[in-house]
């Protein structure tokens, strides 16, 4: 194709020599046309060269940079605009006729093109799984199974056991970045009797563990669909449409349960996929040759399927080795499900608007089903994840200076725990993501100045921190905004991971309808930041409300204020309220401390965010809540979970239990049903590293300010 274009260009040059297409019959300087027969990009002003580069796709971008020294110096190693950085997955496949590798970028309205950048192994290989830029490939000749990142070239072999029938591997998945020490890799298989057999391996282990569930009677075939790691568990769809849930509980314990299928229609499936979209667990079912397509959402707290009619601003990319969701910048891509099938040189998608299949670029024509389209022999949906942050272990961090946390991050201020106004510098800020080893960290620059609270304030208090994306290490994190709340003043920045030296802090005052809002405890749910907001009202004392905020046009905007439920108490001596997110819902927990430090009442309210009414709940549907003044988190609990800490290893957490800090250094567990409180653990004994299931990051205990921090509950 490129050759034909070259020929066309040559032809055009010939043609132009004969008939110049100039419209004005002025004298044309002949020597000028001779000199510029080819487009001399290098003669263009330098800023225009970088402007052209911004229009290039990732692969071309790299080629462009590689063509000469000048371009290499003018164009930055990574595209400036994140938009060009593979905003949606690309489909890479091999053509059956010439065996060439081609790729399709669904965000470009054109046909496929050659992908001449791949360094392929000499032996045939199979791609089993793909997540965040990592792929798992199996090489039959070499009898190897490995994960690798094609961009960073980090790779590692999985150990091979005799039990692991490598040639049959179909349903393969890992929980997080495979180089992260808390990563769990699973393979769903079945034994000769059709009972589910799960192999799993933890990072660093030399041997796969087998999970044979003895007392189960249900047959479950995972088939070809890959599992999805979601909210601490692996979910996998069976060939019959039922949903399996697998959890590694630690200490060699696992749990496996099967939920019923969403509809009875599921018969003769073409394919079925699990995908995480905007904090929801979605299942996409495609009927035989695309005769029908249905999408369901699994409500984790109610364990129920809900039919999805529209994806809103999102689009899905499904395949057996990987499925993704994306919020595309191009409006026409929304509400579509891209399938790994091709007609001509174009990708096929299903539109939830028209309820029909279409071929990308030729939207006017619709397909009744998938007949007439082909599935490439061998393909992979790949997302490039630029992950320039070096892993850092917890041990290297000065723990004593951890200042604040929310569900996803910790800030470390190395100078002092309390920021003094007089202090010229703030010290170093660090942003971390929670995992067993805190493998992601990010240095933030100093604040331009320290906010003061009126004139009488001696000290400035950091009341909340937040991130607008749930994790730092995804490909979308360039859009992530990092927020620091100092009462009603907020500082925010875009921490571009690769260029942390270029971050600028922007500050603004947070207000709503002319009233200042003081923010505490932030929670991120479906792209919206929720927090407790204290509204200063001239008439009365501070009223506790829940504010929802979002970054709009480079400004943090308060979308709405919602009164906290009647009966919840503002954060004051003797009572505490905690805000947390769980299973896509918002929760407020109010705890009332009675006399002599006994918890008298504890109440929990639930809110489904578009709605505005809080509903009091009496049980947590099997969950355990971990409450802290900076952040709160949750995990699934069990009947026999412990309410008392055990020194050896975890036995899990009691369901319907609140774990909360109380009385300085002691952590209590409070059972909602029994209304009983038990001292759980003192902070000093908790090890922030090692085998414990989660972290309670401790810092100087003055002011009784606790930090609760979620690790990995698997």
């Amino acid at each position: 194709m490129a050759d034909s274009r070259l020929a066309a260009i040559q032809n055009r040059k010939e043609h132009n020599r004969k008939t110049p297409i100039y419209i004005v019959e002025e004298k044309v300087a002949d020597e000028e046309t001779e000199a510029t027969e080819s487009l001399l990009i290098s003669t263009l002003p330098t800023d225009m060269i970088s402007l052209i580069s911004e229009h290039l796709h990732l692969f071309e971008y790299r080629n462009f940079r590689a063509s000469c020294k000048m371009f290499r110096s003018l164009v930055s190693p990574l595209p400036k605009t994140t938009k060009k950085l593979l905003p949606v997955p690309i489909l890479i496949f091999f053509t059956t006729d010439d065996g060439q590798c081609r790729m399709i970028d669904p965000s470009r309205d054109d046909d496929s093109y050659y992908c001449n950048h791949l360094q392929l192994p000499e032996y045939p290989f199979t791609v089993h799984f793909c997540k965040d830029g990592w792929i798992v490939i199996h090489n039959r000749q070499l009898v190897s199974l490995k994960y690798l990142n094609p961009l960073t070239r980090v790779k590692q072999d999985f150990p091979l056991d005799e039990d692991l029938k490598i040639s049959d591997l179909k349903s393969f998945g890992f929980s997080t970045n495979p180089t992260s020490p808390d990563c769990v890799t699973v393979v769903f298989d079945h034994d000769d009797f059709g009972l589910v057999l799960i192999h799993y391996i933890q990072y660093g282990d030399q041997k796969w563990k087998d999970c044979r569930l003895e007392n189960q009677v249900d047959f479950f075939f995972a088939g070809y669909s890959c599992p999805l790691y979601f909210a601490g568990a692996f979910y996998v769809l069976g060939v019959d449409g039922r949903l399996g849930e697998f959890k590694v509980l630690g200490d060699g314990q696992q749990s496996w349960r099967i939920y019923k299928k969403p509809t009875t229609r599921i018969k003769y499936l073409h394919s079925y996929h699990l995908v995480e979209c905007h904090g929801d667990l979605l299942a996409v079912f495609i009927g035989h040759m695309g005769t029908w397509v249905e999408v369901y959402k699994f409500n984790l707290s109610k364990r129920k399927w809900i039919k999805v009619k529209s994806l809103g601003n999102y689009c899905l990319f499904v395949s057996n080795s990987s499925s993704f969701s994306a919020e595309p910048t191009e409006a026409w891509m929304r509400n579509r499900i891209y399938v790994p099938r091709i007609k001509g040189n174009r990708i096929v998608f299903y539109s939830l608007d028209t309820c029909k299949f279409h071929v990308s670029g030729i939207e006017d024509d619709s397909l009744v089903n998938l007949f007439g389209t082909t599935e490439p022999l061998h393909f992979v949906l790949a997302v490039a994840a630029y992950n320039g942050v070096m892993p850092q272990t917890l041990e290297a961090l000065p723990l004593a200076h951890v200042k604040a946390a929310n569900a996803f991050i910790v800030i470390v201020i190395t100078e002092r725990a309390k920021i003094k106004v007089q202090a010229p510098v703030l010290g170093k800020l660090k942003c971390l993501t929670p995992s067993r080893s805190l493998s992601q960290s990010l240095n933030l620059p100093l604040l331009p100045y320290l906010p003061t609270l009126g004139t009488n304030a001696e000290e400035v208090e950091l009341t909340g921190v937040g991130l607008t994306a749930p994790v730092l290490n995804t490909s979308t994190s360039d859009d992530c905004v990092f927020l620091l709340f100092f009462h009603f003043q907020v500082f925010w920045c875009h921490p571009r991971l690769r260029r942390s030296d270029m971050i600028n802090w922007v500050d603004q005052i947070l207000g709503y309808n002319g009233k200042l809002l003081c923010v505490r405890q932030t929670v991120i749910l479906k792209g919206i930041i929720y927090s407790f907001a204290m509204v200063a009202d001239k008439e009365g004392p501070f009223r506790l409300q829940v504010a929802s905020m979002r970054m709009v046009d480079g400004e943090l905007k308060v979308l709405s204020l919602l009164p906290a439920p009647i009966g919840s108490k503002r954060i004051c001596l003797g009572s505490f309220s905690f805000l947390l997110e769980s299973c896509g819902l918002l929760y407020i927990v109010s705890v009332f401390y009675g006399f002599s430090n006994v918890i008298s009442v504890s109440k929990v309210w639930e809110l489904d965010p578009p709605m505005r009414n809080w509903v009091e709940v009496k049980c947590l549907n099997g969950r355990a809540f971990f409450l802290g003044q900076h952040c709160s988190t949750w995990c699934w609990g069990s009947d026999n979970g412990s309410t008392v800490s055990s020194s050896s290893s975890s036995v899990g957490y009691r369901k319907d239990c609140l774990y909360l800090p109380f009385e300085k250094l002691i952590l209590y567990s409070y059972c909602l049903a029994e209304r009983s409180i038990t001292p759980f653990q003192t902070y000093q004994n908790l090890q922030p590293t090692g085998v414990s299931d989660y972290y309670w990051l401790n810092f100087k205990p003055q002011h009784h300010r606790s930090v609760i921090y979620s690790g990995n509950f698997s």
């Binding site: 490129a2 002025e26 080819s38 001399l40 290098s42 229009h55 071309e60 590689a66 063509s67 000048m70």
Partner: protein, 164 residues
């Protein structure tokens, strides 16, 4: 009075580098931020004279093309429905030029601050890079390879997606 002032400013005269004069409708001229700025400045001064804007960097033939583009876009400025048609027109518009013209047109668009035309040109150039190898890029754009073989090998290795 008011009518005479508005009529005097409904057209401007643009002079190309080779001293040809073009009479341009104000609405068309406004597509170029450079011309718009000139007109606005003059209007602020309240002059009734015909405005003459000399463009020392743009030749007649290129200016004709820029104005053709501006005219088309001015026609469509108030009409949101025909975006697809305009897109099509844009595409056809650039297709017929040789690279020398395209080069000058890009420069002119930049000089005259016609952002949409500049973006269009850049996109067009970027599209012509699609699917090309490094060698082909060099060939088409007449770029001299100034890397040493070692550097070249390093870059090639750095750019590849390694599936092995």
């Amino acid at each position: 009075m008011a009518s005479s002032s508005s009529s005097s400013l409904s057209r401007v005269v643009v002079k190309s580098s080779d001293n040809n004069l073009f009479v341009v409708n104000k609405k068309v001229a406004s597509q170029s931020q450079l011309l718009k700025q000139c007109i606005d400045n003059m209007e602020e001064k309240g002059t009734n004279d015909v405005i003459l804007i000399p463009l020392s960097n743009v030749t007649s033939n290129i200016l004709t093309l820029v104005l053709e583009y501006c005219e088309k876009h001015a026609d469509f400025a108030d009409d949101d429905n025909n975006n697809q048609e305009l897109k099509q027109w844009d595409h056809e518009f650039l297709k017929k030029f040789d690279y020398a013209t395209l080069n000058s047109l890009t420069m002119a668009a930049d000089y005259m601050v016609t952002k949409s035309l500049l973006n269009l040109c850049c996109q067009f150039i970027a599209d012509s890079i699609k699917d090309l190898t490094v060698q082909q890029i060099r060939q088409i754009f007449d770029i001299k390879n100034d890397f040493t073989p070692q550097e070249e090998a390093d870059i090639k290795n750095e750019n590849a997606w390694a599936f092995r």
